[in-house]
């Protein structure tokens, strides 16, 4: 099988949410001498990003996205293991992410976590019901570049503003880039509270975080 054929089959497997074929392609790619990062970048990431985009467009739905993200996670584990053996560190940037205090919704946030990991970010998922203080404490401890917050309720969005205020107070505002998301959250809200970016969906979140790290 040529490199291109492996990339294509890898991409197809992720798009179909076929974990078994995806894992097989990861092993086959590594065995045929393709570098782990090259394999991820050319084969699997185009697949998961396409799934993320189709989800964002409403062409496919949560079940398909979950199956694709699960398949991707299996691939990442296989490839990370091989990279570790070879002593190669793959690191796009470090993100701490969570659903804000008082909010127990975390389906959306979990999808963002899967896509970020799939794209090679080091992600610390703080789960749900996370206070502004804890976001800051964890970001400091993790050495994060990005703090991502999700709010699914109109009553909990205020925690996103509280985080901005507390970062300012502590003189840490310029140390991190912040990104906000969640059903009731808008671009306008992000601007008003002074967040660095707004993500309309999971794939958009990955794009915006890449932009933030470049900019």
């Amino acid at each position: 099988m040529t490199k291109e054929e492996i990339y294509q089959l890898a991409q197809d497997a992720i798009e179909k949410g076929d974990a078994e074929t995806a894992a097989n392609m990861a092993r086959l790619g590594l065995d045929s001498g393709i570098g782990g990062i090259e394999l991820i970048d050319n084969g699997f990431i185009p697949g998961i990003n396409k799934v993320g985009d189709l989800f964002g467009e409403g062409q496919l739905f949560l079940p398909e996205l979950i199956m694709s993200a699960n398949a991707m996670q299996g691939v990442i584990d296989i490839i990370n293991e091989s990279l570790e053996k070879a002593g190669i560190k793959q690191n796009q940037g470090k993100v701490v992410i969570g659903t804000v205090e008082g909010d127990l919704h975390d389906i959306g946030k979990t999808i963002v976590v899967s896509l970020l990991k799939a794209n090679g970010f080091a992600v610390k998922d703080l789960g749900r019901d996370v206070s502004a203080d804890r976001f800051i404490k964890e970001a400091e401890a993790f050495g994060a570049n990005i703090i991502g917050t999700s709010a699914l309720l109109t009553t909990t969005m205020s925690v996103q503003k509280e985080l901005e205020d507390k970062l300012q107070e502590k003189g840490l505002r310029n140390k991190y880039k912040t990104i906000v998301g969640g059903a009731p959250v808008t671009e306008r809200w992000a601007k008003r509270i002074g967040a660095d970016a707004y993500a309309s969906d999971a794939a958009d979140g990955v794009r915006k975080i890449k932009e933030l790290l470049q900019g």
Binding site: Q59, F61, L62, P63, E64, L104, I107, T155, M157
Partner: protein, 298 residues
């Protein structure tokens, strides 16, 4: 009191109530902000009575209980699963008390929302566990004397079907309403889990629901389209509970765009589409329900 389903089948249009959360928040902010909304049931059932009275006096025929998140799996999020019985029983009793006091021909409708957990293979929950989750909540609710079960805001058809079956197993005669939440996507209306209106209609009907439809979503205009589509796929009576559009946050407050007048005017189109029960969801108030009633029932 005349039977609920008899009135529906005779062609009467009934009015359901509107949003619960915002009214509770206004009265018990310290108790529930960032916490479980059903906590009100444990310590302030008087607030549940007050809210029920507001909607009843606004003209609602169907008053919902504050039990949306009252299933054991959902209550686990707040470590309140041991209070499951009391939470559900108190909520039914509070609405029952007000409905009986007012002496109107109104009904206690027990709300039953999603478990918040996903079924296999997308999540960890086995179908039996999900069924048991709803069975336990609904047994308390039905024992407490609810008139109707309202399974609502569902996005996974399998979860919704398990809830309907649990209700009908406990009491084959209790009327069960089942509604799902749809978004408009490029290929039409679908739930977050990818369920179309045709699939929802077919499977809810097969499961034994007496009344089907939609709640929440994005405003009443989409709901008119959703109602027409349901009518293409099912002869069952329809319930529609629209929200007042998507909120804007202004000065820390959620402001919903659709006014009582606007929603009332648009409700005429729901009637024309053949909807049997019209109520509200997020952002609707007793004023919305009053306005809808006066337009629909004159």
């Amino acid at each position: 009191m005349e039977q609920f389903l008899t009135r529906i089948h005779r062609g009467e249009i009934l009015i359901a109530d509107g949003a619960m959360g915002s009214l509770l928040m206004a009265r018990a902010k310290d108790l529930i902000k960032g916490k479980c909304p059903e906590l009100v049931n444990l310590s302030r059932p008087d607030i549940l009575e007050e809210v029920a009275a507001l909607y009843l006096d606004a003209g609602a025929d169907i008053i919902q209980t504050n039990t949306f998140g009252g299933s054991p799996l959902k209550l686990e999020d707040y470590s309140l699963q041991d209070n499951m019985e009391e939470i559900n029983r108190t909520a039914v009793n509070a609405v029952r008390k007000i409905v009986d006091e007012r002496g109107r021909n109104a009904y206690v409708s027990a709300s039953c929302g999603p478990s918040g957990k996903m079924l296999r293979p997308y999540g960890p929950i086995a179908p039996d566990t999900m069924y048991d989750n709803f069975f336990r909540q609904l047994r308390v609710i039905i024992d407490a004397g609810a008139d109707i079960i309202c399974i609502e805001t569902m996005t996974d058809i399998q979860e919704a079907v398990l809830a309907v079956k649990a209700a009908k197993t406990i009491s084959p005669s209790i009327p069960v309403m089942a509604t799902m939440t749809f978004d408009l996507k490029p290929r039409g209306f679908f739930t977050m889990m990818g369920v179309s209106i045709s699939k929802a209609a077919a499977e809810l009907e097969t499961a034994g629901a007496d009344i089907i439809g939609s709640n929440c979503g994005n405003g009443i205009e989409n709901m008119i389209k959703i109602a027409h589509e349901f009518k293409n796929y099912s002869k069952l009576p329809l319930i529609i509970q629209a929200n007042a559009g998507l909120p804007e946050i202004i000065d820390g407050k959620a402001i919903y765009p659709e006014t009582p007048g606007f929603m009332a005017e648009k409700s005429k189109e729901l009637v024309a589409a053949g909807v049997s029960i019209i109520g509200g969801c997020c952002g609707t108030t007793p004023r919305h329900i009053g306005a809808i009633r006066s337009v629909v029932r004159g």
